[in-house]
Symmetry: C2
Subunit: 268 residues, 2 copies
């Protein structure tokens, strides 16, 4: 197997951190580094496993690292990271989460979220334009909330939010219903009848012994089941959906469609 | 120019940080990464520029990064880093500085210093065995103190310490004089007559407009002038010494002779 080109790290390299917990599953370095190496861009993305209770002090410390120019954030830190930025885009504030933070020349930090846009672009490219459809997002965490915003921007007819945490669910539902009146519904358990697309935006499926995030039995035969988990590429959920003959959409396109956004955001 | 092989970074990569200020001059990643890549060792060394006032909180934060297995330390953090380890080797405690910290399986951190051993091995390989010689180390900071310990272990006849800070100088002189009675002298300014080897262990020479750390005019014709600065390879000091016809010894061998020590220490 040919190894794709990798960055050559030196004292002049711009360093970016990728914070998550767990971390072994992250794919962004493997996708970004060959692009950076081919472009001759002197930058590297370094995965760092940080527990939820440590993410605030770790980000504060990383802000003191002068050659660290930005931070990517994955599960479970996307909501917490919003509070660590000095400013965020409207879509990030609406989602209540960010997945990218950038050091500005004046030393402040700006944040945005590319999950939603990446997800929708991947879905459209796969032939599943969500415009006018009834779509359910299971998991109102960092990625789920960003995906919900992007789906509403992509003009879904109904956006149904599902989360087992009633407080988290209601906070997001209210914020989205204010911004997109008449299209947002919410439930603490999956109500799958009549849906065209269901998205797993929970971390369930990262670990081999995780239960399914929702049962696929109640879905219409034309429904698409999407998962945002990238590793494994075929989650138990997608396997179950495929076994029922439903169309499936894996996690990788969401990330692949974010790479250009990262490169633009970080000016790489 | 052929690019040497570089590590392929993923979520399973063991991360090591290299802390210094400035950082652009560091050479360790460029020397270590081709070795790691050729061995197939899944590890990366990431330079991080951290100001002296920030090194303690940054190290505390890095200890919370679960896939970060160790830290290399360069100018000016080597003395401060000793206090950040849970334990250190006898030579590191004697030098009062460390340049490598390792996470142990129980979560504690162990430290050692390889500067002195690397420096002496490089000097010997270049044909300048210091045994029985009169050697002066200019700069009683982290690297200088480690080099002083290693030179005493290598049986120099006299080890003369020079530093412009009388308090720092006296602290190191006393500690070394206790451990190596009758061989340690100290001065706040260079007294170069009768010396066989003089080592610059100050950061002077890292920046193009730095003054010389000491004048080379007072040295005997057979003296060797060594510098621990690696970038630029030929410092103004070495150029001045060479211009006077003195033998010179550059900074790179000190690092090159530490690589195997790093690999052993970090079990890479």
């Amino acid at each position: 197997m040919t190894v794709p080109p990798q960055p050559t790290i030196s004292g002049t390299t711009r360093v970016y951190a990728l914070l998550g917990d767990p971390i072994a599953q992250v794919r962004a370095p493997g996708l970004l580094h060959p692009v950076l190496a081919r472009r001759g861009t002197d930058a590297v993305l370094v995965p760092m496993q940080v527990a939820p209770g440590d993410v605030t002090p770790v980000v504060h410390a990383l802000r003191q690292v002068a050659n660290l120019h930005g931070i990517l954030v994955t599960v479970p830190h996307k909501a917490a990271a919003l509070a660590l930025a000095d400013r965020a885009t409207a879509r990030a504030r609406l989602a209540g989460s960010v997945n990218a933070l950038r050091r500005e020349p004046d030393g402040t930090w700006s944040a945005d979220t590319f999950d939603g846009d990446g997800f929708v672009r991947g879905l459209v490219e796969a032939g599943h334009d969500p415009k006018g459809l009834r779509v359910c997002v299971v998991g109102a965490g960092g990625a789920g909330s960003a995906i919900a915003v992007a789906l509403l921007d992509a003009e879904v007819a109904e956006l149904r939010l599902v989360d087992t945490d009633p407080s988290r669910l209601d906070t997001l539902r209210r914020r989205l219903a204010d911004a997109y009146p008449g299209r947002v519904t919410a439930a603490t358990g999956p109500q799958l009848a009549g849906l065209d697309v269901v998205v797993n935006a929970t971390p369930l499926g990262l670990r081999p012994d995780d239960p399914l995030p929702f049962p696929v039995t109640g879905l219409p035969a034309h429904a698409v089941v999407a998962d945002i988990i990238m590793q494994p590429a075929e989650t138990a959920l997608l396997r179950a959906a495929g076994g029922r003959g439903l169309a499936t959409h894996p996690g990788e396109p969401m990330l692949a469609h974010q790479l250009d956004s990262y490169l633009d955001f970080f000016d790489l």
